[in-house]
């Protein structure tokens, strides 16, 4: 992870003036607003700097490029400081997974969040280093929540004992993501429920 050293999470050296947290917050907040309004392609470091009332160098000092900046901006805005609480567990796996996916789709319905996340995704696809950072800081933690919920289902006998949990996560969640990125396919609550049901029961239908 070559980034880290220059990224905002780098630890302070012993001496010298300390980094201003308010400046960092202003930059990330503005970056989110800009990508939410203009998209990633038309986002400009100069625009963010001007709009945040900040020197360009202050951004370049802490973030190596647009992608890293947008990743931090999205992470800061969407996750916030709190712990990312567990997935719901009502006992009914199909209901719980459907609820999670419906909530995700509802977030996509907010144009600002939609554009911001599209921008981040576009950046990630082309930049292996950024995609690794995304995986470690956003995707893997979320994935862990999903695996945990599925493991409980497995222990309750609602999921086959020999099923690989990573396979299960992909089978359940990837179709929704695909319909979102390509803007085609049914993302209504019914459509989402059908995906969950299909993944759980299978298409062959021997049941």
């Amino acid at each position: 992870m070559r980034y880290r050293a220059r990224m905002p999470t780098a630890q302070q050296p012993s001496t010298g003036r300390r980094r201003n947290p308010a400046t960092r917050a202003a930059i990330l907040g503005t970056a989110f607003d800009v990508v939410a309004e203009l998209g990633y392609a038309r986002l400009t470091i100069e625009k963010v700097a001007a709009q945040a009332g900040v020197g360009k160098q202050t951004i370049y000092r802490w973030w190596p490029n647009k992608g890293a900046l947008v990743l931090d901006a999205v992470l800061e805005r969407s996750l916030g400081p709190g712990e990312p609480g567990d997935l719901p567990d009502s006992g009914d796996l199909e209901d719980d997974l459907t609820a999670v996916l419906v909530a995700t789709v509802e977030e996509f319905a907010d144009p600002a969040f939609d554009r911001a996340l599209r921008g981040l995704t576009a950046a990630i696809i082309e930049d292996p280093e950024l995609s690794q950072a995304y995986r470690e800081r956003l995707d893997e933690p979320m994935r862990d929540l999903k695996r945990r919920r599925l493991r409980r289902a497995q222990e309750a006998g609602q999921l086959a004992a020999d099923v690989d949990l990573d396979l299960a996560v992909d089978l359940i969640f990837a179709p929704v993501t695909r319909r979102w990125t390509e803007r085609s396919g049914d993302l209504s609550p019914d459509g989402v429920r059908a995906i969950v049901r299909g993944a759980l029961r299978g298409l062959a239908g021997s049941a």
Copy 2:
């Protein structure tokens, strides 16, 4: 489709000099090479023009932006002129789907094709108009092949009769795409087969 009128498929007016097909081919070929080498973000119209030995205006006359150019470049190179023959049908659905997906993964293994397709995908995510063009000209035709194969499986009783075919396509193919775009997850032949098996038999495992 507002593009069309300015896109290379537009029909010729009655009089005047005709468009040079060799020029079109040179531009698209060079565009593919450039995106395959540098990626989408660093692809430049000026670079394509210079490298193809062509005036900038000649590109701007026929393509409205980078995205449209790259879409045509990928379409031209990956599909070629021929009809996109049917999916294999050996009678064993799981084997056939696995073979198709393994072939797809093998294409991703070619760095040039990988970068070109990543570039196209990145462009599509941010541009609704381009994503529609992609859907109509590449995704939907492929999807149709998949639906046809699945319908035959349905008639043979290997797929539940009440299963929606678009749901089936997403469930089977989206996980592989996800693992590719995010560069994480098992894309080995075994991993791919597990996806197909999981989608067909279901995770709940009542069989």
